[in-house]
Amino acid sequence: MKDEHFLRLFLKNEDVLRAYARSLLPSWDGVDDVLQEASVVMWKKLSQLEEAEGFLPWAKVIVRLECLKARRKSARESLVFSDEVYALIADEFPESNEESMQQRAQALSKCLSQIDERARAIILAPYSGYGSVKSLAESLNRTENSLYKQIGRLREKLTSCVKQQLPTPTAR
């Protein structure tokens, strides 16, 4: 397999691999590093890959191993799942591909457009950098805890909305 073919496959499946790594790590911190390390390992072991169709399962094995290494490091600073739960989460990661990720992204955009501006700002706050939820809570004259509860409720509603938009369930 040529390098450029590998690069195309990696980029095509990057979002799925990113979600997979996030499910196995305590936070988004470290996901980029894991994907970077995993991509180097994949490139070095490319001769193992016989067909492009086998790329995603093969890549997930490598990402899982890199997450395991990162998890050992982060266990000193963060709470991490036990080996048992880690394995269950890794094994049960829903089957997804570029197409299903795009469908989900489109559904999410549609669902986000159906909520008001304030709710949209609240649910996006955790992704706007360190301290952004606290800062938003202060500007809305609310406590950080109450805002996080609302974020949890909005995530639940969005998940429900997205599932209604999708043509078929993506989880196995």
């Binding site: 979600a19 709470l79 269950l88 992204a105 992704y127 500007s139 409720r153």
Partner: protein, 71 residues
């Protein structure tokens, strides 16, 4: 959209949301972890939440300035 999106309670959704935000203390984390070990519905909901989290993060990158402007 008042019902829970998975076969878990709204309270569990809040717990999972706090889990992915690293807001649980160790006793709460270990209690939830023990339940996740035996409850497939909780693990499925965790995966759904991660999927939403992944897309919201991507969405926020496209709209980087929206969240802190509300007053």
């Amino acid at each position: 959209m008042n019902e829970s999106s998975s076969n878990i309670s709204s309270q569990d959704w809040l717990l999972l949301s706090d889990l992915i935000e690293n807001r649980l203390d160790e006793p709460a984390f270990r209690k939830l972890e023990a339940r996740m070990a035996s409850d497939q519905n909780l693990r499925a909901a965790y995966h759904e939440l991660i999927a939403i989290d992944t897309h919201l993060r991507r969405e926020s990158e496209a709209l980087p300035e929206t969240t802190t402007r509300l007053h």
